[in-house]
């Protein structure tokens, strides 16, 4: 059986599944139960400075987006950092870490952008024997209005400055958690690296309004008739998160910077995908807020089974394996030609492929009187929309054409050689391949 033990920045954990800093990790009671359920690590709910505790709203904190059968696809929240006294959290962290020495315990921190604030809190965190810290530069609501969270994460210079303070006053690994509410995630990632960060974690939540109540005209979640943007997370944000992770993983100046992947990870497969894109481990929140701590059992068994099937003995074997395959559009092989193929045996004749192709694509699917759907190779550009809308898995596939065959759509012979846009004759800026 595959070994799921993970070494992230020298921090060992029995598996790569950590709980992200969020409501599930707000207190000892939850964290102990999470560890008992099998979670490899926990990033404790973000700590703030000493002083009067943070206050939260007393109405709904969450809003949701649903798929079929009311399956939760996206969640947003307007909860702030921990609203419990700093000392209480620190005492609990110390106790939990002492009782679970084999699990990772990370302290998430968000204090004002002043050196003294960090200088004050870091020694106290160190006393808990936590394995490291994560700097919360990501929360997009409430705290950002006070100059913290995303307000820091959106200014690379601040990131670098605060990271440097942390490296100066704290001797264990420093992870910088990045906000996706920026235009180019490589900039804050590089700033973290320049400040001496040991790793980045991403993504934090995305600015969002999940719905508008059409009776009261208030955004949801609604507090006394008003709403505020909240942080969006859950399965819906996974594609955004994976793209940002891949940008950092393949960008030369940040390539090799350890990444803890976050964003809609719900199953072992999601986790494996993030790790293939360069994440040393992953952090989960929405999935446990939806289904409870127990899902980690499926994540552990699923990842193990897949690793066994693929012959990966440790997670290090496949981390980053997909990174070389992430490229820019201009380098995609324009000589690669595929055609959709419908497996008539598994087709249930719903006609969704036909409607999608006929109404919105290339009119490349024919429908017969008896509802047999077939691809018209002369029209098919292999856009994949039919595959995407088909309710039956693997019913429609994209079959690559062999070199030497003639593409009935273009009448051209499929070339064996790779050729991309940079050398394409239609590209005014093409460089002659000499």
């Amino acid at each position: 059986m595959a070994d799921l033990t993970t070494d992230f920045l020298g921090i060992k954990s029995p598996n790569p599944f950590w709980l992200a800093s969020a409501p599930p990790t707000d207190k000892e009671y939850n964290v102990r139960r999470a560890f008992e359920a099998g979670w490899g690590g926990v990033v404790w709910k973000t700590l703030g400075s000493e002083g009067p505790p943070v206050v939260n709203v007393n109405g709904p904190r969450y809003g949701a987006i649903y798929g079929a059968d009311r399956r939760l696809l996206g969640l947003n929240n307007i909860e702030l950092i921990t609203d419990r006294p700093l000392e209480t959290n620190l005492e609990e962290m110390a106790r939990v870490k002492a009782d679970y020495p084999d699990r990772a315990l990370i302290a998430s921190i968000m204090v004002p952008c002043e050196e003294q604030a960090w200088k004050d809190i870091l020694p106290r965190v160190a006393e808990t024997n936590a394995d490291g810290i994560e700097l919360n530069f990501g929360c997009p609501h409430g705290m950002s209005e006070r100059g913290m969270g995303a307000a820091v994460g959106q200014v690379p210079e601040y990131i670098e400055m605060v990271t440097r303070w942390c490296k100066q006053y704290y001797d264990r690994p420093v992870i910088v958690k990045l906000t996706p509410n920026i235009t180019d995630v490589r900039k804050p990632a590089l700033a973290a690296k320049n400040g001496g960060a040991d790793a980045v974690s991403l993504i934090n939540t995305i600015n969002s309004i999940t719905s508008v109540n059409l009776d009261t005209m208030s955004p949801e979640p609604s507090i006394d008739g008003k709403g505020s943007h909240g942080g969006y997370c859950g399965p819906a944000v996974k594609p955004i998160a994976m793209s940002m992770v891949s940008e950092i993983a393949r960008h030369e100046p940040t390539h090799g910077l350890p990444i803890s992947g976050i964003g809609g990870i719900t199953t072992w497969r999601d986790a494996a995908e993030f790790m293939a894109l360069g994440c040393g481990n992953v952090q989960v929140c929405t999935a446990v807020m939806t289904y409870g701590f127990k899902i980690v059992q499926e994540m552990i068994s699923g990842l193990s089974q897949w690793m066994d099937e693929k012959g990966h003995r440790s997670t290090a074997d496949f981390i980053g394996m997909a990174v070389p395959n992430v490229t820019d559009w201009q380098y995609l092989n324009l000589n690669y030609v595929a055609k959709a193929k419908i497996d008539q045996d598994s087709c249930i004749s719903c006609g969704r492929c036909y409607a999608a192709c006929e109404d919105t694509s290339h009119q490349a699917i024919a429908m017969s009187e008896d509802r047999t759907f077939t691809v018209i190779d002369e029209e098919c550009v292999a856009c994949n929309l039919c595959v995407d809308v088909c309710p039956v898995q693997d019913c429609i596939s994209m079959v690559p054409m062999e070199p030497g065959q003639v593409d009935p759509r273009t009448g051209k012979v499929v070339e064996k050689e790779y050729a991309n846009w940079t050398t394409h004759p239609n590209n005014p800026g093409a460089v002659a391949a000499e």
């Binding site: 059968d69 249930i348 719903c350 006609g351 969704r352 409607a355 429908m367 509802r371 309710p391």
Partner: protein
Amino acid sequence: MADVMTPGLATGRLPAEALAENFEDLHPALTPHEAVVAADRCYFCHDAPCVTACPTDIDIPLFIRQISTGTAEAAARTIFDQNILGGMCARVCPTEDLCEGACVREIAEGKPVEIGRLQRHATDTLMARQGHPFERAPSTGKRVAVVGAGPAGLACAHRLAMLGHDVVLLEAKGKAGGLNEFGIAAYKATDDIAAREVEWLMGVGGIELHTGQILGESFQLEELAGSFDAVFLGTGLSGVNALGVAGEDLDDVVDAVRFIAHLRQAKDMTALPIGRNVVVIGGGMTAIDAAVQSKLLGAQNVTLAYRRGRDQMGASAYEQDLAASKGVNLMFNVQPKEAHADADEYLAEIELEYTADDGSGLKGTGETVRLPADQLFSAIGQTLTLDAGLELDGRKIAVGPTGRTSREGVWAGGDCTPGDDLTVVAVAEGRDAAMDIHRTLMA
């Protein structure tokens, strides 16, 4: 106090509470949560097979999508645009043979989207929350006579009234509804739905209902044709086929249609006499409805005897299973030979002969079996009794695609014309005839 073992015919074999439970809704209404879950399963197929399978062409994917987005009234409107008796059809349609049988999820998982129950959810919602949803067009000044207030006549009358014509609806029985009211198993039409639906349908206005009006007795087709701009006949089939065996004139050999009508109109189920040993002859929906309801009334033994094999039965596999699940004994390849009476001239036994088809047609094999029977229901089909001088197609009134009969100005639809004898087919025919009448009158 009678019980299931009481010999002969008896009332009150089961206590009132047990009867009430037995005759509860066969498919209870979906709760709002169930409706959303069920609606989620629809794939919104292109040119959907369910729509093709629906005789009234209801846009099923659209109405299900409307349910799933929280607008059940809009969904109902989509249904009623095509089928004004959509509420009743949701309850009585053999969906397993129609929309649900064609559902792609039947192919995919053997479990279709619950179209019938979703349709009921939508139509119930609209009927409960608001009055009649359609407004009449300005009056055309045209008058149309509709004969028969069953599904075909009601659908025709409603569509004509909606289009601005004045309709006189003539019904032979004491109230409107046709087989929705007098036929069909009670557990498919609970809470007086048939009568409530008629009242709601009449809410469109412009329909004048006259009951107790029998064509050929109270009035003649000739008179109607002379005094109205058009006539629609939706008279159904009022005759029943005879068994043609000795003993069929015994008191307790009864036409199943009459038994069901009596049951549907009963105010008190405990006052309905039912045999201890009941035998139903036939293989269609009427036979199933009679057999199941006999069982539900407390008959100890109910046998449904059909002359051919199971696969040739008119009733769907679903209905056969329903009968079996209620404890009805299904016998195949047997035909009635003779009804035997006891010394007091009460029905005592039915003698059945086994049948076989060697390729030259169904024949008795000579081997017989006798079943104790103190009540025998005959459900071997109904016939057209109307003789109005119209051309026939087989044993029914010959019509063109939009219901035109051989006589100009006279249209017909429903069970009195060729085609499947289903509520939903009758509605489609009544509606289509109304549209043709409208086009003809406004030309």
